[in-house]
């Protein structure tokens, strides 16, 4: 009897306790924070804190070998970077990669999207073929292209017909940057195609039909229906590709055999290799961080500028 009573009492107690806990755990406030907590902890630890550090350390002479002795030096790192010829060269190289690759991959991506959007045989296969470089390791693709663009291969000879020298492209200071741009184009076209394709499929069919009734040519339909419809997508693609172009690293690391990043002879030095070289290889954390902060503002400025340009044109 007493046994039974105590069991029942504790069960009752449990139920009350459980329901109290349950109500608390079931409230949106508790559950919301509970569900966001793992993300927030990792974010604060591995994003927000380092993000702040990037700024604060850029005003110090922090060095990896003597972290405790870092002292505040104001804008000295920034002044030094802005007086470094190598930095300007790196910025120019980054710009060059972006200016070569972004227009080409946007146009080719659009062309591919239009092609695989036609009623033709094997379009699924072509879509896959164009898309595969995007999901493949950039180190792997660069490795293959390095073999293809060596002196005397059929690829370099083919390019020779268009006036390019028969040289090992990635080891030649004239061609190395173009080589990196080609790699970036090869990788990015598939992505551009997929994004354009989703846009093309949303253009209302009756717009084209109305155009046909008015006797519009294929070109007129493309120019006055497709292009305006794709404008927001184009903005998205150009922004993503530009930012991606500024961030290129794998391809450059892969062609810099043994040598310093940005081989040959600094011909592929970009903003990214510049800060990586200084901040991580040479361990000048303060100096490298200052370069990163500049890089960050450059990217923000370009995104802003592009948005403004495209809005004005539209």
């Amino acid at each position: 009897m007493s046994d039974y009573q105590s069991v029942s009492a504790s069960a009752k107690h449990n139920r009350i306790k459980q329901s109290w806990l349950r109500t608390l755990a079931d409230s949106d406030l508790t559950l919301g924070w509970m569900f966001c907590l793992p993300f927030l902890i990792l974010w604060a630890w591995w994003f927000f804190y380092p993000f702040i550090q990037s700024f604060t350390q850029s005003f110090t002479d922090a060095n990896f070998t003597a972290l405790g002795r870092a002292k505040f030096i104001g804008l000295q790192n920034y002044v030094q970077i802005l007086h470094d010829k190598e930095f300007y060269r790196a910025v120019m190289h980054s710009l060059e990669i972006v200016l070569i690759s972004v227009p080409v991959q946007t146009l080719f991506g659009l062309l591919m999207a239009i092609l695989v959007n036609q009623k033709i045989k094997g379009k699924g296969l072509f879509r896959t073929v164009f898309f595969i470089p995007y999901i493949t390791s950039q180190i792997a693709i660069t490795t293959v292209f390095m073999m293809l663009f060596k002196k005397g291969t059929f690829v370099t000879e083919l390019f020779g017909w268009f006036g390019f020298g028969n040289v090992t492209w990635f080891a030649d200071t004239r061609y190395a940057l173009l080589f990196v741009s080609i790699l970036f184009i090869f990788q990015q076209c598939g992505f551009t195609m997929i994004v354009y394709l989703s846009g093309l499929q949303e253009v209302p069919k009756d717009l084209y039909e109305a155009g046909e009734i008015d006797g519009a040519s294929i070109w007129a339909k493309f120019r006055y229906i497709t292009v305006p419809y794709l404008r927001p997508i184009t903005f998205f693609i150009v922004s993503v590709s530009t930012i991606g172009g500024f961030q290129i690293y794998d391809q450059i690391a892969a062609i810099s055999r043994y040598g310093a990043l940005g081989s040959p002879a600094g011909a592929t030095n970009t903003v990214v290799t510049y800060f990586y070289q200084h901040g991580i290889r040479y361990m000048n954390i303060g100096y490298g961080s200052a370069a990163v902060v500049l890089f960050f503002f450059v990217i923000m400025a370009i995104t802003f500028l592009q948005k403004k340009l495209i809005d004005e044109k539209g």
Binding site: C36, Y49, L115, V116, F126, T128, V129, T143, L148, Y276
Partner: protein, 274 residues
């Protein structure tokens, strides 16, 4: 009119096949070169010369430990994918279906973080990892990457589309909200979860910058980093390196062919890679 159409079709085929050749050629070159002996590189030889010798050599070479690199890659990728499949959906669900103080702030954090390139924090993360003694450990390769704001954003979009009545119905049946999430809403999002899994898988498997910075001793290399060092060491042995390229990329290609539809949907809906 009809002939104009057929000329248009002919041009379409010519252009698409031409582009197709440009894109397939490097792949065919890789497959072919990985199978032939070194002396036949850059010349065409028949199948009687072909063998898997370079693959065996790549895998069993004594100068480096490829099976170890393979394991490292599998462990790193596995942990990151699992983490992303737990942490992101929870946050995404909270932001989509729960109403709580601070939600706006968290949403703002997710959106703002998405726009910052990882390069921005690479140096301090590197220093912090070194200071807590995580250099050359799996901790460094996985813990900072267990969540991804792009995926939280993507999953939030998906959870918004789940009818709230479903959760209400589950609660009437006696489930807690947490129970309703794990047992009803989460399984419902299967295809979104697969998209996140594929994006995280490809992004992690292919990553070079992070593993080459946070793990730089040969026994902690992942495949991509290892491939790059083999390439530098044995640059003249093209078949060996092409075999390495094949072994590094085949798992990704297999995964892609299995889940192509979800992958492409994921890309076109969010425009994010790994």
């Amino acid at each position: 009119m009809k002939s104009q159409k057929s000329i248009g079709l002919l041009i379409t085929y010519l252009v698409i096949i031409g582009l197709g050749i440009v894109f397939v050629l490097p792949f065919l070159y890789t497959v072919y070169t990985s199978l032939i002996p070194m002396r036949d590189v850059n010349s065409l030889v028949g199948p009687s010369h072909w063998s898997f010798g370079s693959y065996r050599k790549f895998f069993t070479n004594e100068a480096y430990n490829v099976p170890r690199w393979f394991m490292n890659t599998v462990i790193m990728t596995g942990i990151v994918v699992l983490g992303n499949l737990v942490i992101n959906p929870m946050a995404g669900f909270a932001l989509a279906k729960l109403d709580f103080k601070g939600k706006k702030l968290i949403y703002w954090i997710v959106v703002a973080t998405m726009m910052v390139p990882y390069h921005m924090i690479l140096i301090p993360v590197y220093v912090n990892i070194a200071q807590i003694g995580w250099m050359n450990t799996f901790w460094a390769l996985t813990v900072p990457f267990l969540y991804q704001c792009q995926y939280i954003f993507m999953l939030r979009q998906f959870f918004i589309s789940v009818p709230s009545e479903l959760i209400e119905a589950a609660r009437i049946d006696g489930m807690t909200k947490m129970g309703a999430f794990w047992r009803i809403v989460y399984p419902l999002g299967r295809s979104s979860m697969i998209t996140v899994a594929i994006l995280a898988f490809a992004g992690t498997w292919n990553s070079y910058l992070i593993p080459s910075t946070f793990a730089n001793t040969p026994d902690m290399y992942v495949l991509v980093v290892g491939l790059n060092s083999v390439k530098d060491l044995f640059f003249e042995n093209t078949p060996l390196i092409m075999a390495g390229v094949m072994l590094t990329t085949i798992p990704i290609l297999l995964f892609f062919f299995l889940f192509q539809r979800q992958y492409i949907e994921g890309i076109s809906s969010s425009g994010v890679k790994g």
